[in-house]
Assembly symmetry: D2
Homo-oligomer: 430 residues x 4
C-alpha cells in the first residue's frame, strides 16, 4: 500500500440535471470506501493526520451532467477476446436506453481502428433489439483490434460525430490509450466523457479485485486440465503440458491448478524457476515419472521469460512479445529425456483461443451487467478519465491513471501461492 | 451495522506447539480486518472512542494448540445438500493429513444422528486415498440428516472417542447446534474445538460475504430459466413458473434473474407482493400475456409466506415449514385465468433437488478448499465456537453466536434489488 | 413383421420440372431399401412370391413437381416441446430458400390453431436471416398447441393462402391430423403436399428407427439421475425418485438407466409391475434399503397405468390422460414405510420440462438438418401424405398412415430390456 | 459392395456348456443379417445363385465354449485415447463377473507392451469395485501405447499366464496386431479367443456403422467451432482455423461442420483441394474476407496430404506420418495474404487432445456397454479372430481380417458430402 494514492476522478462540470432513474436510493456524492481493510493499518492512518486512502463509490447519482436527449454514446472494444465483452456492450446499451433514455448509441468497429476514418469501418448503430441475446455469444459484436492509433485523429472523430461519451472496453494498453484520449479531450476542453471498463482475462488490473471473464476462464480451463490428466495417465510416462493465458500475472494458471486438483507443476510469471541442473524442474519431473509414471504441468504464457531475454519483439499493442514458454518447455523436456534415454509421452495442449471466446458464465454475466450499469452511471454524471472497478465488495470509480501504473500479481510469499504449492505439492525450483 | 459486535473468538488455551507448516508467512495474532468499509463510518468511529468493529483474520498460526500426533478430528455434515460439501470434507482431510500430520480423521454418518450411539451408524475412517476424487461428486460422502440431537449425548460421544475437534458443515440450525455443543464442552471444560463451516445454498449467513455452493447454484439454475423461457414462448399465453431455493433470503432467485435475462417476475421472501386485485401480480401478468403472449416467473421458496400465515408446522431441523409458494402460485394463476376465460399454458418447474446436488463449480471448488484449510488452521490453533467466513476479500474467524443471530437478506431498497427490477422490468406489487 | 405393409407414398402428379439442385447424384425413382434385414426372413420371402417389404429411399429427385418460383410453403409445429424443433424449422427454410429457390415460406403460429382464422394468429414470414441462429435455442419459434382443429377449415386456410406444401412437425396425434388434412386435400383434388416430420421425444414411431430429440433427452436426463443418486446417498435410507417422459414407450427411461449406471429400478409402460405384497417392488425396495441404505427409482410417465384404470380423462390432443405415476409412487412408498415404521428420505424429481426444452445436441442437430432437407425433397417431388423417417441407416419416405397405426415399444423379452435389467439388477415384479 | 465377402467367424470348438445367463431369449446359431439393404441389389442377388452376403448376429448364446470357473480374461488398450475406452473396460469386467461368473480378469498395462515381459509392467487385477465409476473418467485405466510388439512373445505371455481370452481395444493397427496374435494362436492350436473392439475416433472401420467415441467427439468439437467463429468475427478479416482428428477419413470434420453451422470450408482426406492459383482455396478465401471480413476453416488432420508427398516418416504404430496440415495451412494463408498486403487475423486451434480424452457422452456410454457385453458373449461362445461391430441396427461378429482390409471413407460424390457442401456453401477446389 503506497503512502499516497491519487484516487480522485475528474469531473467535466456541474451536474445540473435530475436523473431520470426511478430508484429508491442514489449514491450520495462523498460516499467512499476505504482501500486498505487491515485494522492495524487503519488505526495507524487515523491516529496520524489525513486518514487513509479511499475510493469513490460507483452507482447512480441524483444529479447528472449530460442531457439524455442530446447524448450520443460510443462503445469500443480493444485487444484480445475475453468472455463477457458482449455482456458489457449489451449492459451499456440497455442501461443508456431504458434507464437514462439515451437513444443514440454507436459501436466503433474493430477497436481504435474504428475511430480512424481512413480504415473506413464506419459506426454500427446499437439498439436494444440488436443486443437482446448478445450475452449468449462469445467474442465481441463490434470486432476488436490490437494497438493504439493516433490520439488526435481519434478525438477528431469523436468531435466530428458529436460523441458525448466513449466507453472503452480493453486491457492495460487500451486503458492507457483511453487515458491519452482523455488527456487530449481535456486539452481541447471538450465535454466528452472517457470511461474504461477493464477487460483483462488475466485479472491483473491494480486496485481492481476482479475483472470480468476471469471466473469463466477458470471454469473453462479446469476441464481442459482433466483431459491433460487423462492423456498423462493414458501413456507410460505420460506428460500433459498445458499453456494458459497469463502474460504478467499467473492468476488463471494458479487458480485452475487449485480448482482442478490434477496439476503437479504450475509455472507463473511471478515465480522464476530453474529448469536444468540439480534441483531444477526437469530433474524433479524425472524423479516423479520414475515413481508415478505421469505428470501434469500447467504454464502461464508469461512464465519463464528469463529464458527469452534476447527476444526483443513487440506486438501491435506495444506489449513486449513473450517467448513461447509452451513450445519451449515441450522441446526442452523432450530433449532432456532423450538424452537420458528415458521414454516419455508428452502431449502439449494450448487451449487459449478456446477459453477466451466462450460466452460468459452466469456469475460473470451478473458481474458484467453491474459493471456496464456503473460505467453508464459514471459517464452520465460527467466523470471522465476513470474506470469502473470493484473493491471490497463495492463498485468504484477510480482514475485510469491509477489503475494503469502497475499490474496486480500473485505474491510468491503470500497465502494464495502457498495454497497452490500445497495443492500441487511442488517446490519453487529457485 | 450495530454499535457493538461480539467478534472475539474463544481460545481453548495457550498455543505451545510449533506449527509443522513450512510456509513463508503466518498470520500474526492480532491481525484483523475492519468490518465496515464505508469511509465516513470509519472516520466517525475513529474520531470517537474505541474504533470500529473488526474480525480476526483466518489463516495459519505459527504456534498451535493441538499436538498433531495426538489429535483426532471428526467431520459432520447436516441439513440439505449443497454443491461443495464433498470438496470441504476433502479439503479438511487433506489439510489435516498432509499439512499438519493429523492421521486420525473420522466421518460422522448422517448428520448429528451419527453422534448418537443408538442409531448405530458408527464412524467412517477418512483417508487421503478415500477422498482423492471426492470433489467430482455432488452430495455428501458422509450422508446427512436434518434436526438436532441431544447435546449431552453428542458430547458424550465426542469424549468417549477422544475427539479433539469437530468440524460441522451445515446451515443456520446446524451452526446453532454446534454452538450448543461448544457451550456444553466449555461447561465440561474439555479440550475439544468446535468449528463451523457455513453451508447455506441461500447465501444468507450474516457477516459472511459468500457461502459455498451459491455460485454453483446460480450457474445451474440459469439454464433452467432458459428452458422455462422456451416453454413459455412455445405455447400461446405460455407461463414458465420456476421455484428455486431461498427460504428466508432471495439471493438465488434474484441473482439468477439477472444472470438469465429471461425472467419477468421475481418473487423473494424480502419483498411481500400482492397477488390479487388491482395492481396485483395477477392483473399485471394478465396485461403482459395479452400484449406479449408469454411470461416467466421465478419464485424463491420462501416468497409470499404472507399467504400461509396459518401454517404452523415445523421440519426436523426445527425450521418453521414454509407454505409451498410454487404450487400455490400455479393454482392461483390457473384459477384466475379460468375465471377470466383466458386460455393459458402454465408449466411449473421445481429444479431444487437437481441444483443442490450437482458437483461444485471450479469457482466454488477453489473457495471450498480455502474454507476447509482455514477451518483446520482455526481448530489447530485451539479456537472453538467459531465459523470460517469471508469478509472483504479475507477469510475470517467469527463467533458462531454472532453469525446465527440473524440472516443476511436482500435489501428491498438497495442497489442489488434495484438491478433486479431493472432487469425484469417488474414493479413491487406492494 | 406383418405380411403386408402399405409402403407406397402418394404422388400428386407427373414431375416435369428439372431440379435446380447442383449435386453429383440424385436418388433414382425405384430406389428402395429392404425393411427386414434378417437373412432367414429375406431368404424365405424371396423363395416365395412377391419378395419382401421395402421402403422408398428419401433424397433429392432429378425431376420435381412444384415450380419453385410459384411455391408457397407453410410449417406448423404441434404438441409438446422436443429438442430440435427449431433445427428442423431452420433446415426446411434454408433448404427451400437456398437449394430450391422457394422464397415464400410461412410459419403457422401455435400449432393447428394457426390454421383456424378465428384465433387470429396470422402467419409469420420465415427467412434465412430470421432462422440463422435458431438452432441455438430450445423450444419452437412458431409456438405450438395441442389437439386437432376442424379439418375442413384448415384446408380452407391452406387454399385461401395458396399454400403448396404443409410441413407438420408433431407426434402421433399431429401426424393423424396431417393424414386427415391430406385426405381432405385429395378429396378436393388440390395440388398441396402434406409432409410429416415425426416429433416424439419418446422415440415411439413405428417403422422409424429414431426420432429427433431423443438422443438430446437421454443426454440431458443422465446427469439428473446423478443428482438423484447424490440425494439418495446423502440421507439415511434415501430414495431418489425420478419421472421422465414416456407415455406409451419406455425408451428414455430405459436408455437413461443404462447410460447413468446409478438406477436400481426402472419402470416403463411396457412392463407391468406389482407394487404391493410379497415379491412386489415395495418389499424389494425395503430389503435394498435395509442392506444398502439408498435407492434410485426411474419411472417413465406411462408406467404403472394399471393403477389408474378408472381414470377416464383425455387431454387436448385426444390422448387418454395418464395417471401421475410419479406422485403415486411417492405417496405409496411413503405410506408403506410409515406403516413399517421405517424411516426414509424420499426426494421426488420431475425434470420433464427441463429436458424437453433444451437446444438439440450436436448429434441431433445433424439429424434434424437431414430430416428437414429430406422433407423438402419429398414435398418438391410432389409426394404427399408421407413422413420422413430413418430405417437401416437410410432416410425414407413412408405413408403417414403406416406410421400412425401403432407405436414402437420396448420388447419386455428382447435384448434391450435384458440389458436394462442386467444394468440395474432389478427383477420384473410381475 | 464386393462380390464375395469373407464373413464367417472362426470357432475354437464345440460349445458344450450351458450359458449361466438367465435371460428370456438367446441368439440362435445361424441368425444373420443382410449386409446390403438396397432392394434392387437383394432382388438381383436372390434371383441368381447363392444369395447375398450376411453378417452373424452378435449376442448371447445358449451354449458356451469356456467354463467360467476356469476362464481367465485379459484386456488390452492400444493407440491414442478415445472417449469410451474406460466404459468398454468397465462393461467387459462387469459382464464377465456378474453375468458369466468369470472372476479372473486382468488388465494389460500400456498396450501391447504389457504383454512383453521385459517392460516389467505386470498385470492389473480388475474387479467390479475398481471399475465401478470408471465411466466418469476420460482416458484409459490401463494405459496405452502405440505400435506392435513381437507376436510370438505376446502369445508366450498369454500362454504362460493361462489367459483364455484377450480383448483388444484399438484401431486399425491394433486390430491387425490382434489378427496376427490370433493367427499365431491358431498355429499353436491354443484355446485362446482373440476379440477386437474397434476403437477409432475417426469412425473409419469398414463394415462397421459406428465406432464408440465418435459421437462424443463431434459433441465436444462443435462448441470449439463456435469459439473459432467468435475469434474470426472478433477481428478484422479474422480467420478461425481448426484442425481435428481424421487421418484417412473426414467424418469428424464433416459432421462437426454440419452440426455447428459456422464452418465455411471443410477439408478432408477424401477430397483433394487446390490451395494456390485461380480457383484455389486461397483465392476463394480472399474473396470471402473482402466481402464478409471473417471465415472459419475446419481441416481433418489427414486432409491435403498431396502437399506432403516427400514426407516418408512412420509413427510407432507403423502408420505413415501425416504432414501437419494445420500449421501448413496457417503458414500458407499467412504468406499469401502478406504477399497480397491484405491484413488478416488468423487464430489456429488444435483441440485434438482435449476432444479425445473427455468422458463418453451418455449416448456413447450406452453404446460402449452393448459393445462390451457382445464382446464377452462372442468370446465365451468360443469365437476368435473377430470384432464386435454394428450394422443395420444390429450388433455383429465379423472377422478381424474383413474389417482391416480397407477403411471407411466419406464418398465425395455421396449424399453426406453433398450436405456438407450445402451447409458450408463451399466448392471443391479441385
Amino acid at each position: 500500500m503506497p503512502e499516497q494514492l491519487e484516487t480522485d476522478v475528474y469531473r467535466l462540470g456541474e451536474c445540473g440535471i435530475d436523473s431520470p432513474l426511478r430508484i429508491p436510493k442514489f449514491i450520495e456524492e462523498g460516499q467512499r470506501i476505504i482501500v486498505d481493510v487491515d485494522y492495524n493499518h487503519i488505526t495507524a492512518a487515523f491516529s496520524g493526520s489525513g486518514g487513509a486512502p479511499s475510493f469513490e463509490n460507483a452507482g447512480p447519482r441524483r444529479k447528472i451532467f449530460f442531457d439524455p436527449a442530446r447524448t450520443r454514446a460510443a462503445i469500443v472494444t480493444c485487444g484480445g477476446l475475453c468472455p463477457g465483452i458482449n455482456n458489457v456492450i449489451r449492459g451499456i446499451v440497455l442501461e443508456l436506453y431504458h434507464s437514462y433514455g439515451v437513444k443514440s448509441v454507436y459501436g466503433v468497429r474493430y477497436g481504435f481502428e474504428g475511430l480512424i476514418p481512413r480504415f473506413g469501418h464506419g459506426f454500427m448503430t446499437l439498439t436494444p433489439d440488436l443486443v437482446e441475446n448478445l450475452h449468449l455469444e462469445g467474442g465481441t459484436l463490434l470486432g476488436s483490434s490490437r494497438g493504439n492509433q493516433n490520439i488526435e485523429e481519434m478525438v477528431d472523430t469523436l468531435e466530428a460525430n458529436y460523441i458525448s461519451m466513449l466507453f472503452t472496453i480493453g486491457g492495460d494498453g487500451t486503458l492507457r490509450g483511453a487515458e491519452a484520449i482523455y488527456q487530449e479531450i481535456r486539452k481541447r476542453n471538450l465535454d466528452i466523457a472517457v470511461v474504461g471498463v477493464p477487460k483483462t482475462i488475466d485479472n491483473d488490473i491494480c486496485w481492481v479485485d476482479r475483472t470480468f471473464g476471469f471466473e469463466t476462464s477458470v471454469s473453462t480451463a479446469t476441464p481442459v486440465l482433466y483431459t491433460a490428466h487423462a492423456e498423462a495417465k493414458g501413456a507410460r510416462n505420460g506428460i500433459g503440458l498445458v499453456k494458459v493465458m497469463g502474460r504478467d500475472s499467473g492468476f488463471i494458471a494458479a487458480t485452475t491448478a487449485i480448482a482442478s486438483n490434477v496439476v503437479n507443476y504450475v509455472l507463473i510469471p511471478e515465480v522464476p524457476f530453474r529448469l536444468h541442473g540439480a534441483g531444477g524442474l526437469l530433474e524433479h519431473l524425472h524423479r516423479r515419472l520414475a515413481a508415478k509414471k505421469h505428470a501434469v504441468i500447467l504454464a502461464a504464457e508469461g512464465a519463464g521469460q528469463e529464458y527469452f531475454e534476447n527476444l526483443n519483439e513487440f506486438d501491435a499493442s506495444g506489449n513486449k512479445k513473450k517467448g513461447d514458454i509452451g513450445t519451449y518447455l515441450r522441446d526442452e523436456i523432450t530433449k532432456y529425456f532423450k538424452e537420458k534415454e528415458f521414454h516419455i509421452n508428452l502431449k502439449y495442449i494450448d487451449p487459449s483461443y478456446i477459453i477466451r471466446s466462450v460466452p460468459a458464465s452466469p456469475d460473470d454475466a451478473v458481474f458484467c451487467i453491474m459493471l456496464a450499469q456503473n460505467a453508464v452511471h459514471g459517464a452520465m454524471s460527467g466523470r471522465s478519465g476513470f474506470l469502473v472497478g470493484r473493491w471490497n465488495k463495492f463498485f468504484t470509480f477510480i482514475p485510469l491513471k491509477l489503475a494503469t501504473q502497475a499490474r496486480k500479481k500473485v505474491d510468491p510469499r503470500g497465502y494464495f501461492w502457498t495454497i497452490v504449492k500445497e495443492t500441487t505439492g511442488q517446490e519453487d525450483f529457485a
